[in-house]
Symmetry: C2
Subunit: 345 residues, 2 copies
């Protein structure tokens, strides 16, 4: 057996996956006819649901640093962030394809840890591996294509927000950015006790929680007029939602649910002089959901499991301006300050 | 508008693509409800066809060299080789997602040329862009996910070959490897006249022809018992087909359709002392189809458009050995010598 085939089998054993179905005459649940081990995977859609497809790249040196990010976090996060695009449209995660390029030196223990992290995300998110591609490369480069299923016509786009709609976000914003700043600055206490006390602070950066339950519930009940996940920062992503919908928005700074920076955290955290509002506005990688809801549907929204984790941060307006109203009542233009890889510095 | 959104719009304008359908209430042909511009693309399958999915990575420094391979070839080939996986199962190409990671310095003329090449492949292969991801990275890394459509139960796997079946390949093998050797060795004549006389030799390496028509015809008429494309070399890929089918094979060296090395080619080509049979056995990147046909279906196979480009190279046997019979009648084990990125040297 060639080395690449062995590697593929090792990946398929480590991660919840669907293998080739031999002569492929049977039909696996969820419409899968044929999984890993051929030139492609084969799906037999019922015609009663729609499929959402998205892909996401996760690259060494750009999204993670080999010496700062544990391999299991790389495995977990690469799959979690790809799956977040399904949650953002309201689709239930089903299958994924993994393109994995890595140096020969990472095919040992590093790969085992990576696969362990990815398997954990796979089980948590209910998404199974059905195919992919493995390549040798100077640095680790991961690209993941995810497939989700949704009832016909229920996928929520970015384009439906209307003036008067109320803007909601889930969770707290800036948590992942805080973790990133801590990792980058070296503001981490070493040793077991240190790591445990910091683990909550680092959680959303290393092992982000994805809002699959919330996204699918909202889409099923047709609550949002527009929705997306916040992957590049609220200031950037809200601008995208408004542009897609052809509307503007007004957001109140005081209402934005910001990450809490603990006063009892690692000493060096204070020296970073972080502003929670800036982290919340411009920090990427949170994967919380941002969505618009018509006022007449707000009552229905209260029925959503975990309603208390949602915050109304502003409203949709006519025009094309996105403004931020400060504590002093002054409105300023909210300029995209989030992650934008192709902005010239 | 943020720079990433601008880049995405530039890509979507350059390549035949499907944009977001606004509120997404309509239904585009082929089951597409929503294309580029949201967190994911949405497909509304009819339930009357099956979908084949595959992904393929194409990496700078591994699959191409920035100073030797023109950007339009990188664009053409990355999409062509991904689409070959659909042809290999008999599926008709429909849509693709493009993950494109590249340095800021390649977002100008290089990207324009890249997109021109990809657009050409897209039109030739009848496959349209519906989504993707763009990232900034130190080197160019491309990952493409392709979707093809096929009648239920007609996808051809690697696993159905039976003892007695005849093994066929399309075209000539080793053509892409010859091109690669020429590019690597610098055995290229410069200047317009030089390039023109060499263009046929380099064609399959730079702008590979993909056997979509052949693959879909064979699947539609249920001719092959097993099929795959030769991307990593006949010796490697035939081993994979046999392993998946649980069979062995016997191949006659004299019957293998080898690349022709022109005696009138560039002078330095002779110095490379290339053996056509070795190029044909172990050279990758040809994307010709390898398939097994039961003897009772050979008559039907003669009806295929382009039958004359097919060659019977051997037959399927019991057991698990793949042997090569030389001109002298001696049988030797055919050892995988093709492209295997994870073989320790």
């Amino acid at each position: 057996m060639d080395a690449e085939t062995k590697l593929i089998q090792r990946i398929a054993r480590a991660i919840p996956s669907e293998m080739g179905a031999g002569k492929g005459r049977g039909r696996a649940p969820g419409g899968l006819r044929l999984g890993i081990g051929n030139d492609g995977a084969v799906l037999a859609p019922s015609g009663r649901t729609e499929w959402v497809l998205s892909c996401d790249a996760f690259l060494e040196g750009v999204h993670f640093l080999a010496d700062r990010h544990p391999a299991d976090s790389v495995g977990f996060k690469s799959l979690a962030r790809a799956t977040s695009d399904l949650a953002a449209m309201g689709a239930a995660p089903r299958y994924f394809l993994l393109t994995l390029a890595l140096p020969l030196g990472r095919t040992g223990a590093w790969l085992d840890d990576f696969l362990r992290g990815m398997a954990k995300a796979s089980r948590q998110l209910g998404i199974r591996l059905i195919g992919g591609d493995t390549k040798r490369h100077a640095s680790v480069a991961i690209s993941i294509t995810v497939l989700g299923e949704i009832a016909p016509g229920r996928a929520v786009t970015r384009a439906g927000a209307r003036p008067g709609d109320i803007l909601y976000v889930s969770g707290k914003l800036g948590r992942a950015e805080l973790g990133l700043r801590m990792v980058k600055s070296g503001a981490l206490k070493r040793g077991k006790r240190g790591l445990k006390s910091q683990s909550l602070l680092l959680e959303q950066h290393f092992y982000p929680r994805i809002r699959v339950g919330l996204g699918t519930w909202l889409a099923r009940h047709r609550i949002p007029s527009a929705m997306m996940d916040i992957s590049d920062g609220l200031s950037t992503d809200l601008g995208r939602l408004c542009a897609a919908s052809g509307v503007g928005a007004r957001v109140w700074a005081e209402r934005i649910p910001c990450v809490e920076i603990p006063s009892a955290g690692p000493g060096s955290l204070k020296r970073l002089k972080l502003d929670p509002l800036q982290l919340a506005l411009h920090g990427g990688d949170d994967y919380e959901l941002l969505f618009a809801v018509s006022p007449r549907k707000v009552k229905q929204l209260r029925m959503v499991p975990g309603f208390s984790s949602l915050t109304a941060i502003g409203e949709v307006e006519r025009g094309n301006k996105v403004v931020l109203v400060g504590a002093d009542g002054r409105a300023t233009r909210l300029v995209s300050g989030g992650w934008d890889p192709f902005r010239e510095k």
